[in-house]
């Protein structure tokens, strides 16, 4: 809890420090301190991950990503809000009852409306409004679901483990999940995300799609696991259909995009499909590790890519594939960052994305649904179509004259090195995740 308190007060205090030179150092110090507080609770050393808590490991990952975000971002208000998201994430991941989940989920939601609220162009206004409306709808569904669940269960503050679900409670939870799936960009609740992620400032998209979405995914699995297991005979079909639709549609639509932000948005939807796929195997012992690994990998690669997009475009949200043509001739290092993170998304080995996908897919195979795993793997082949095409634009093409790409600052490059380190570390040293468990909170 101390990490939460620290982050929360850091958020408030940082507001007072805006436009002073101590702002960034203060924020960085606070993030490092909170990370350190979590680190102290778990013996997270090279070989000391044994029996440590998965939640703590994930929180550390989040704080590392926030550190990189702070280094890379230039808008102070965004940084303050990212601190708040960090604080809310602690609550969201630590919460054990439905009520705390809903409250902290809404905290993350509402602050994310504020994050996209800095509108500088009509495109960004479009993205922000879509996000706001869909978010409102999602909130309505979640609260309705909570009401139904409470009405059915007769208690306001239930945890989902060790209880029997009656029909009303089940309906309530499914309504609530429908609302949550908006935030998780599951087809058919995805269409806002494709526009919002692509149209808002890319660094905000990094925060929302890279960090907030992964946190919600892990929190949902943690909280709803008993519910899915108990109602598996129904939920399995819903989950299979939704996950297959999400990954396939995301991948196919991503292929037709000309704007990098939009391509990443659809790829993010496809990745949500892979994450949802893990829920099919919810009974399997690899499911938790699989989702956690996917989420960790996702935090690094998605945050890195949107931040890079923000850096090379100077905050504009409509960088196209033509703009990045021949990027390698302008900046070898930035191109390399792009290439490695894209390869990680595509599932190239020794990068975190591969291990995440491999373990998630194995969980599904282990649960007996190898056909679903095959569909996921074939989807991964589709995705090479656009990931490879993006790399092709950077490396194989000649640059175009009217490219709007600008040079990237040193602190942004340091941020990228931090994120790249995460992608590489979790790609090779799998024991870091394997030796954790959700049980020992």
């Amino acid at each position: 809890m101390s990490a939460f308190v620290l982050m929360f007060f850091a958020t408030l205090f940082s507001l007072a420090l805006h436009r002073t030179f101590v702002f960034k150092p203060f924020v960085l110090l606070m993030i490092v301190l909170s990370g350190f507080l979590i680190f102290l609770k778990t013996p997270v050393l090279m070989y000391g991950f044994a029996q440590s808590s998965a939640t703590n490991l994930f929180l550390l990952v989040i704080f590392i990503a926030l550190l990189a975000f702070t280094l890379s971002e230039d808008k102070e208000i965004n940084i303050t809000q990212s601190l708040f998201i960090g604080a809310a994430s602690v609550l969201l991941l630590r919460g054990t009852t439905l009520l705390t989940f809903v409250f902290s989920f809404e905290a993350v939601s509402i602050i994310s409306f504020a994050v996209v609220g800095h509108i500088r162009s009509s495109i960004q206004a479009d993205g922000a409004v879509k996000m706001f409306i869909s978010g409102a709808l999602a909130t309505a569904l979640i609260v309705l679901g909570l009401a139904l669940f409470t009405f059915g269960g007769g208690n306001f503050n239930l945890s989902l483990s060790n209880i029997h679900f009656n029909a009303l409670m089940e309906v309530g939870l499914w309504v609530m999940l429908a609302g949550i799936f908006y935030k998780l960009t599951i087809v058919p609740m995805h269409s806002w995300a494709a526009d919002s992620y692509a149209n808002i400032k890319p660094s905000s998209a990094a925060l929302l799609s890279g960090i907030a979405k992964s946190v919600v995914f892990v929190a949902v699995l943690k909280l709803f696991e008993p519910f899915f297991i108990q109602t598996l005979h129904v939920s399995i079909f819903i989950l299979i259909v939704l996950s297959v639709l999400t990954m396939t549609l995301g991948n196919i639509l991503a292929m037709f995009q000309k704007r990098v932000g939009k391509m990443l948005a659809y790829s993010s939807i496809a990745q949500a499909g892979y994450m949802l796929m893990v829920f099919i195997a919810v009974k399997d012992s690899y499911a938790q590790i699989g989702l956690l690994y996917l989420a960790i990998a996702y935090v690094f690669m998605q945050t890195a890519l949107y931040l890079l997009l923000d850096n090379i475009g100077g905050g504009i949200s409509d960088i196209t594939l033509d703009d990045v043509k021949g990027l390698v001739k302008k900046d070898r290092l930035v191109s390399l960052f792009f290439a490695i993170q894209i390869f990680s998304l595509a599932g190239v080995p020794l990068l975190a994305g591969f291990m995440g996908k491999a373990i998630a897919t194995y969980a599904v195979v282990d649960a007996g649904y190898w056909i679903v795993a095959l569909i996921a793997l074939l989807n991964s082949t589709f995705s090479i179509g656009y990931y490879g095409w993006f790399i092709k634009n950077i490396y194989f093409d000649h640059s175009v004259k009217q490219s709007r790409v600008i040079s990237v600052s040193t602190s942004a490059k340091i941020a990228q090195i931090i994120l790249l380190g995460g992608t590489l570390f979790f790609g090779i040293f799998a024991f870091a995740v394997f030796h954790t468990s959700f049980c020992s909170l």
Binding site: Y286, I289, R332, L333, L336, F343, V348, P349, L350, F354, A358, I359, T361, Y362, V365, D366, W370, A373, L374, L377, L378, S380, T381, I384, G385, G388, W389, I391, K392, Y395, F396, I428, F429, A430, F431, F434
Partner: protein, 478 residues
């Protein structure tokens, strides 16, 4: 530890060379030194092998839960592959001596060396997959950046198609792990599997794409044609061999019962590949395409030899693989030089090169004659041993393979007629065929090897024959 470094040091070194040697140069010398060192290492490993079975080299990064263990074990078969790969890498470095953008080019080659060594050394299937997939990345860039006009299409098709193969393989590995609770290929027992047929088919298609066998081959001709010439020889000499290695190691030796059940599938696809590619080579007028189809045709021979499922079949498959790598590398590089100098791919535009560049033309003729199986070259021994083992396993009707040899004689001798001999064309008359002596030296050494191993095949066979002697359980072991 040295073996762990063999895999990961090149990958780190590649990053360093890419970012820091652009201005100072010297990347090619580092590459050459590294590959020579790798060859020496492979040779020492070969000399220190246990008399039979696997020799343990080390085990790292132990994650028991998912069997994510980098187990490095080699037997004679894999070390022979390591020797072949390191020789090919040296050849590719020498024949790329004056390539453009050297720091990037050689860093990719160096990067490639790490996973390819890992692939042949690892017996853990998960790591086998990791290395398998990692080899795609440098080749994708090598084709996409240094390739010809249609390089982007070729690179994308290569990446997507081979990634598809990898995905099928990964699913097969997951099923194997689920059913036998280990990723170690030496521990997996076919009898313990619940769905061996499904696994066999997934693996078979995956490796058939990589080899490539007939209906799955379409990625290769375009990749071969568009890739720069040394990379084409890398594709033919190493990447296709990965497919053949997997076919032998996992499809035949790991799942012998299923292989026995479906051996006719391998045979039919092998024959189809052999003849289809031979006819395509006869039809085309594009010199590199002809060499590419001849290369695919030879992989058909390898598949036929594998389908014999016998000791002699596997030995001749391995021999043919080595022969093919040596021969086709010469042909690809010289075809590339002809194109680079004359500016044309069409054999019709060439003609009479022998008068202008006698030494180079002679090397091309040696390569071509070896490819069509002239006695006293390595190609003859390879084809003959494949023919014999196939007839022993499947019956006399397989003498039809000899007809394919006839076809290859058809297209190669016709190609000599159009390109090397005959009237000197206008294009050739205006061309200067001078090449860097290092490139010529590399080609000449390979040509000499082709002849030496053709006359003294015992030297190779003495190693190859012992590669499979531990596998007694195969059906027609003879």
């Amino acid at each position: 530890m040295i073996y762990l470094l063999t895999i990961f040091l090149p990958m780190l070194l590649a990053g360093y060379i890419y970012l820091f040697t652009r201005r100072i140069g010297g990347a090619k010398y580092i590459a050459l030194a590294l590959f020579v060192a790798l060859f020496i290492e492979a040779w020492l490993t070969y000399a220190n092998l246990l008399p039979s079975g696997y020799t343990m080299l080390g085990s790292y990064l132990d994650v028991k839960r998912f069997d994510f263990v980098l187990t490095l074990q080699v037997d004679r078969f894999s070390v022979i592959m390591l020797l072949l790969v390191s020789v090919l890498l040296i050849f590719v470095t020498l024949t790329s001596w004056s390539v453009k953008h050297q720091s990037a080019y050689f860093s990719l080659l160096i990067f490639f060396a790490g996973p390819i060594f890992g692939l042949f050394m690892s017996t853990n299937l998960l790591w086998f997959f990791i290395f398998w997939e990692l080899t795609l990345i440098p080749i994708y860039f090598l084709i996409g950046i240094w390739g010809d006009k249609q390089r982007i299409f070729a690179a994308m098709k290569f990446f997507i198609y081979t990634h598809l193969a990898s995905m099928l393989m990964l699913l097969a590995f997951f099923l194997l792990y689920k059913q036998s609770t280990t990723f170690d290929m030496t521990q997996i027992k076919e009898g313990a599997l619940t769905t061996p047929a499904l696994i066999w088919w997934l693996l078979f298609i995956a490796f058939a794409i990589k080899m490539p066998l007939f209906p799955f081959h379409t990625w290769l001709p375009i990749a071969h044609v568009e890739a720069p010439a040394p990379v084409s020889s890398l594709l033919a000499g190493v990447l296709l061999k990965m497919g053949a290695y997997g076919m032998i190691r996992l499809v035949v030796l790991m799942l012998p019962d299923q292989a026995q059940k479906y051996d006719y599938i391998i045979l039919i696809l092998g024959l189809a590949t052999l003849f289809y590619a031979a006819f395509m080579a006869l039809y085309t007028t594009h010199i590199k395409k002809m060499v590419a189809y001849s290369s695919i045709s030879h992989m058909g021979l390898v598949a036929i030899a594998i389908s014999a499922l016998s000791f002699s079949g596997l030995s001749s498959a391995l021999f043919e693989m080595i022969g093919h790598a040596l021969i086709i590398s010469i042909l690809f590089v010289i075809a590339g030089i002809f194109h680079e100098k004359t500016g044309s791919w069409q054999m019709g535009d060439m003609g009479g090169i022998m008068q202008k560049a006698p030494y180079l033309a002679t090397l091309f003729v040696i390569g071509g004659l070896a490819a069509l199986g002239l006695p006293s070259t390595i190609g003859f021994i390879g084809e003959l041993s494949v023919l014999i083992s196939a007839i022993m396993a499947h019956g006399v009707w397989l003498a039809v393979i000899a007809a394919a040899s006839l076809l290859s004689a058809g297209y190669f001798i016709w190609a000599f007629r159009r390109v090397i001999y005959g009237k000197q064309s206008k294009v050739v008359a205006l061309t200067n065929f001078a090449i860097h002596p290092v490139v010529f030296g590399a080609l000449a050494i390979f040509a000499i090897l082709v002849i030496v191993f053709g006359i003294f095949p015992q030297f190779l066979f003495s190693g190859i024959d012992r590669a499979f002697d531990t596998y007694h359980l195969l059906g027609g072991l003879a």
